[in-house]
């Protein structure tokens, strides 16, 4: 069983009367436990494809299956599937609500599910990502970029997902903070037994993190890269646009 199976995925955006096809006939499979890369130059459709899998954009055609459960186009993801697919966004500054304290950012999703000892769970979540309990009383703007991204990761892990989608998770961070976050992600992947799908335009991050990848161009898949190909680096030039 694959963790994620995408078949003939197409996403078209309507603007006025015209349609723009961002993703066209994309198919790939992700094995459980691997880190799979969706790479390509900006505008190639990798983020659009990722957001379709995340359920943020329900306007797609084709088929998306996560651990043998199919997503329904046109419908929001609910239930167990919703818990199983989670996402870490690119810029923690714009994905953490500026007016909510960390306690609420991490506590609300748990309270929503009727969990009883929310405070303890929040403390555990913070601990997992290396943040002290004192962080609960802070607002996002009172934390550093790296700390915010840790909170974002903690939030993504609250519902114990099996599939974690990462949209350029470290591009807004300094090099040394990036190193810590990448280490953290890999540690958590092992300890929680997750599968990663990573979107990135940074060849270093891709080469470090991914077991396999597909290279996208203008909405379709250009080539598939296994570990050997990723190590070689011939694909790096194709990440840039003219």
């Amino acid at each position: 069983m694959s963790a994620l199976s995408v078949s003939d995925l197409s996403v078209t955006f309507q603007s006025g009367g015209k349609g723009f096809t961002a993703v066209r006939g994309v198919s790939f499979d992700v094995a459980p436990g691997e880190t799979f890369g969706l790479i390509g130059p900006s505008g190639c459709g990798k983020t659009t494809a990722l957001r379709a899998v995340a359920g943020l954009n329900t306007n797609w055609q084709g088929s998306i299956t996560v651990f043998d459960e199919a997503l329904q186009p046109g419908q929001k993801i609910t239930g167990a599937l919703r818990s199983n697919i989670q996402m870490v966004f690119q810029d923690p500054y714009s994905s953490l609500h500026p007016r909510h304290r960390i306690s609420r950012i991490l506590g609300e999703p748990l309270a929503l599910r009727g969990m009883r000892n929310v405070e303890d769970e929040v403390r555990i979540a913070l601990d997992q990502v290396g943040l002290p309990t004192a962080a609960v009383g802070r607002y996002p703007h009172q934390l550093s970029g790296g700390q915010r991204q840790r909170v974002a990761i903690a939030r993504a892990l609250l519902l114990k997902p099996k599939l974690l989608l990462l949209d350029e998770p470290t591009s807004a961070l300094d090099v040394s903070v990036q190193a810590e976050i990448l280490n953290l992600l890999n540690d958590l992947k092992t300890s929680h037994g997750m599968t990663f799908v990573l979107v990135s335009h940074d060849p270093g991050v891709v080469a470090h993190m991914c077991d396999r990848a597909v290279l996208m161009q203008a909405g379709h898949i250009e080539s598939e890269l296994d570990r050997a190909a990723l190590s070689q680096g011939g694909w790096v030039e194709q990440l840039s646009v003219r």
């Binding site: 900006s42 090099v175 040394s176 335009h201 470090h208 993190m209």
Partner: protein, 274 residues
């Protein structure tokens, strides 16, 4: 030996705050001549502030002190407002991170590229246009005429940055400061822009100060590298010597970059800092 183009001796920059004065740059000294020097540091290291101090672009509440801050023989700490106006755009140039925020969206590109000529020279309008078109071609834009008469909104990120470079170099400044000139661009484009900056600075005999947070990347284009940390210069060396850096911090910064070689391993972390 002639004096270097830029001499900085014991520069300190502090900002007043509710809890007293906060030093963001703490007594640094360095020089830049007609060479490419990289000033590297992470957020909060003080590198951008340093660049702005050299351009006289710090906010008014900043307290700048230096034993010496001189460019081309002129002492910058005592320079008047009109002195700065004469210097910027002629002797000194600055390129910032995102052309979206440096190019005026309401004016055509050509006009903005020529602006420095308008302010600092007395050449005719047709000659200005000539020089602008020439510059746009030199920075690698395929259709200079079209770009000249477009608005910035029509340009991609990479093109916009090339336009910025053209605008800044048109008056052949002696020193160009580039503050994170490629962070807003795609990886592949970044290399192109840095290559362009380097080759133009060689061609024009300029000094180039590259400010960046990416040590590995910028060291490929610089002759010398200065690593800043928490307001101080940690280490300075020729970029060829980076592999043998003495400071732990520099070594960690160098090694922290992920790559195919680090696959399956933990990236090294400096000390225990966040």
């Amino acid at each position: 030996m002639t004096e270097p183009l830029l001499s900085v001796e014991d520069l300190s920059i502090a900002f007043p705050s509710a809890t007293g004065s906060v030093r963001v740059v703490d007594g640094i000294s360095f020089s830049v001549d007609r060479e490419v020097v990289a000033l590297v540091g992470e957020s909060g290291s003080g590198k951008s502030m340093t660049g702005r101090a050299i351009m006289g672009l710090l906010p008014r509440r900043a307290e700048v002190r230096a034993k010496r801050l001189s460019f081309d023989g002129q002492e910058l700490t005592t320079l008047s407002a009109s002195g700065w106006n004469r210097l910027r755009g002629s002797g000194l140039g600055l390129i910032l991170q995102d052309p979206k925020y440096s190019l005026n969206p309401a004016h055509k590109v050509g006009r903005q590229v020529e602006e420095a000529l308008l302010l600092h020279t007395k050449i005719s309008a047709s000659e200005r246009r000539e020089r602008a078109l020439d510059m746009l071609e030199r920075v690698g834009l395929p259709d200079p005429q079209r770009v000249y008469s477009s608005y910035p909104a029509a340009l991609s990120g990479g093109m916009g940055q090339r336009v910025m470079i053209a605008a800044m170099l048109i008056n052949r400044p002696k020193l160009l400061i580039a503050d994170e000139p490629t962070s807003a661009l795609d990886r592949g484009l970044q290399d192109q822009i840095l290559t362009l900056l380097r080759s133009l600075s060689e061609e024009f005999g300029m000094g180039l100060l590259l400010i960046s947070h990416d040590l590995q990347q910028v060291s490929r284009y610089a002759d010398r590298v200065m690593v800043m940390r928490r307001g101080k210069i940690e280490e300075q060396m020729a970029s060829a010597d980076l592999a043998n850096a003495r400071s732990d911090y520099t070594r960690a910064l160098w090694a922290a970059r992920p790559s195919a070689a680090t696959y399956g391993t933990r990236l090294p972390i400096y000390g225990g800092e966040a």
